[in-house]
């Protein structure tokens, strides 16, 4: 580590110790080895990543369905256990051969470990953790691109070649290698554990977060309240971080976060009762599958009150994961950086992982509860009989799949980004006014109105008519936005940012 000569007294930089040093070395090595290859073939790598992840998803689905058929045929009638296994490799091979599966020779070795619950749980947990890691990394890069475009600049353009797509990975390496600073006057223990108090709950929310009918790690009967609780507990980490920093800006940020969160949880949870009443369950998978009948059966279009509830929920969820116009805890124009002013390096990045994962979770709740979950606008009764691989794939594309769920979630994340870079931040008294005196009464009206509607009008002709009208209005609004976006895209070269765009590399 080079020491630069400066006129003031300089203390030597703190080196990482123990396992952290190994992690830093590993990150540096991986990045320096991968960067030349990645920057040379960015398009190839991106395309093959998409193709291979699609293939991995398909193979995973195939393996599990084979395993279920074998288990259903009950070859030797013993129960599965966590530690042991009931089928031998030979038995699986014989079953595959009797059903004339071509790749049976390799497949039987792949299938054998999957019958152990523990192995399947480990695979599932690893997948959840990877999803949890990839969403923030991708969303942070995307946020910078969207912010750039809204402000007529390009955003990240250099790292990785194509539109700076590896920017977040490079930032990750930088953050891991940075010095781990703890202010001398801070409450050291609380300062160190606070990022984990924010990070772990938002990871736990993914445990029972369904991405599709069968794509859920634990299908719990109280999944919805569990997810809300986890999003709420994340705040404890933020408050503790602000307090432990022993910095006036941080404490202001933490106090704002506390009063904002506690008040916005009330309208948010109240409007969430509306789709729960429609579905009659708290199980996320059942709520999602109740909306499989196409665009007009989605909960948001059930009646005017559910439509109001959907919009109220989305605004409250912005406050709940501290996005603009409610990003008072870290309002950078007044409070430096709010609760994470004193944080640096890896601990700082943990807060960002938590925040972006929470954005995905609240968008996912909006999609699951109001907008048809993992189903496409087409009713699933039109689905093909799954006789060939092609038809299975077609069903996945046209009717329901986890890809559709993630796609819908990213639409709502995009709207969050759009709002953040368009609207100004509001004052704390305006935040609380809008919660207590505007959104909470609206939420109560939506709840009571929906209850009355369900008792009096559900199933009548008038109800169906209202449902179609609301569905058509929402479709028209979506189409209008898309048209404006298409116009802007086509005429982008004639708009303000043209000169700036032309001068930048990669344009």
């Amino acid at each position: 580590m080079t020491q630069f000569s400066v006129p003031w007294k300089q203390s030597p930089p703190l080196e990482h110790r123990g396992p952290a040093r190994g992690v830093v070395a590993l990150a540096r090595f991986v990045y320096s080895a991968a960067a030349p290859i990645v920057s040379r073939f960015p398009g190839l790598i991106l395309t093959s990543a998409i193709v291979f992840s699609t293939l991995a998803v398909w193979i995973h689905w195939e393996l599990f369905s084979y395993l279920e058929t074998i288990a259903a045929s009950d070859l030797n009638g013993t129960a599965k256990s966590i530690w042991g296994q009931s089928l031998t490799v030979g038995e699986i091979g014989a079953y595959l051969q009797s059903n004339s599966v071509a790749a049976g020779g390799v497949l039987k070795y792949l299938l054998w470990p999957l019958q152990m619950e523990l192995f399947r749980d480990i695979v599932g947990l690893a997948a959840i953790f990877q999803l949890f890691n990839l969403i923030p990394v991708y969303a942070i890069w995307w946020e910078r691109k969207v912010a750039g475009r809204i402000q007529s600049r390009m955003g990240p353009m250099r790292v990785g070649g194509w539109h700076g797509w590896a920017q977040s990975f490079a930032d990750g390496v930088k953050l891991v290698a940075k010095e781990d600073l703890v202010p001398a006057q801070a409450d050291g223990m609380l300062f160190k554990i606070a990022p984990y108090l924010a990070f772990v709950p938002s990871l736990l929310a993914f445990l029972c977060f369904p991405l599709g009918s069968y794509w859920v790690f634990r299908n719990v009967d109280v999944a919805l309240i569990f997810i809300i609780a986890m999003v709420g507990i994340e705040v404890v980490g933020v408050i503790v971080a602000g307090w432990a920093s022993n910095n006036k800006w941080s404490v202001y940020g933490a106090m704002r976060e506390a009063c904002q969160m506690v008040s916005y949880e009330i309208p948010m949870t109240t409007v969430l009762l509306v789709p729960i009443m429609t579905a009659g369950t708290l199980n996320m998978v059942q709520i999602g599958d109740a909306q499989s009948g196409g665009w007009f059966t989605w909960n948001a279009f059930h009646n005017p009150f559910t439509f109001i509830a959907f919009i109220t929920y989305y605004i409250a969820s912005l406050a709940n994961c501290k996005r603009a116009p409610f990003d008072l805890p870290e309002s950078e124009s007044e409070l430096v950086a709010g609760f994470h002013t004193e944080y640096s390096g890896f601990r700082w990045s943990l807060f960002f992982f938590a925040e972006y994962a929470a954005m995905f979770v609240v968008s996912g709740l909006a999609v699951t509860l109001f907008l048809g979950a993992w189903h496409t606008p087409l009713p699933s009764t039109w689905a093909f009989e799954e006789t060939s691989l092609f038809k299975i794939l077609l069903n996945g594309i046209l009717f329901s799949s986890p890809f559709w769920f993630i796609f819908k979630c990213f639409i709502f994340i995009y709207i969050q980004l759009w709002i953040r870079w368009t609207l100004p931040r509001i004052r704390i008294d305006q935040v609380l006014y809008s919660c207590v005196q505007v959104m909470f009464p609206i939420a109560c009206v939506a709840l009571v109105g929906h209850a009355v509607w369900m008792v009096l009008l559900d199933g009548s002709m008038f109800s169906t008519l209202i449902r179609w009208v609301l569905g058509l209005i929402f479709a028209a609004v979506t189409f209008g936005f898309l048209s404006v976006a298409a116009f802007g895209y086509r005429n982008g070269r004639r708009m303000v940012g043209y000169l700036a765009v032309k001068q930048l590399p990669g344009s």
Partner: protein, 217 residues
């Protein structure tokens, strides 16, 4: 007390686990769990039949119990109020985990959302608004200590009597899984309607009182 709290917790946790392992013999639940009415299988609900004799459950129970006791002890011994609140978070979260282990999912998540997610945040918020510096010490006077000690001793005696005198059935007839929420809801609105409504009236009175006191003339 000169021993630092972190060290104390590090020392105390394995001792507590070891004591529990020695004192309390494992009672593996071998009861056959019924299928739920809503068509979910048990493994769908994150519940695995204890084919390994309940070892995993027992292990999880001891870890949770150790965290509950360790952070409870830490609350008593700490002098920094915000740290106490964070230790309290440990206690509340592990109690919720123990509810999950007992298949009481609903009570577990309500514990998380009400206590860990709501009350605790209000507690820390109150401390932040009232205390003068992050180093505010929580000094206990001698007579306060004596009063607290007497109350704690009485309460501990009561708990001990309950533990000694109560019957602890080792096997239950039926464990209700899956439809617990439905049963809970209908019980609240039929058999226990009067206590439920009385409780909500009480909460309403508290809310009106708070609003009245906060009102500025």
């Amino acid at each position: 007390m000169t021993l630092r709290l972190n060290q104390l917790m590090v020392f105390a946790t394995p001792i507590i686990i070891a004591t529990l392992v020695v004192i309390a013999p494992v009672q593996a639940a071998d009861t056959e769990l019924p299928q739920s009415e809503q068509g979910l299988t048990l493994s769908d609900q994150g519940i695995q039949k204890s084919a390994d004799g309940g070892m995993l459950e027992a292990l999880m129970f001891y870890i949770c119990a150790a965290v509950v006791l360790g952070s409870g002890l830490a609350i008593c011994l700490s002098k920094n109020i915000v740290r106490m609140a964070v230790y309290l978070f440990g206690t509340l979260a592990s109690v919720a985990l123990m509810y999950f282990l007992l298949l009481a999912n609903f009570i577990g998540v309500i514990q998380l959302i009400v206590y860990a997610g709501g009350t605790l945040i209000l507690l820390i918020f109150g401390v932040m608004l009232t205390s003068k510096s992050p180093w505010a010490k929580f000094d206990v006077k001698r007579n306060e200590m004596i009063a607290a000690g007497v109350i704690c001793a009485l309460f501990a005696g009561m708990l001990l009597m309950v533990v000694v005198n109560a019957e602890w059935p080792l096997e239950t007839d039926a464990v209700v899984v899956g439809s617990s929420m439905t049963q809970f809801g209908s019980a609240l609105l039929t058999d226990y309607l009067v206590p439920f409504e009385a409780m909500s009236v009480l909460l309403l009175v508290v809310m009106i009182g708070a609003a009245y006191m906060a009102r500025q003339e």
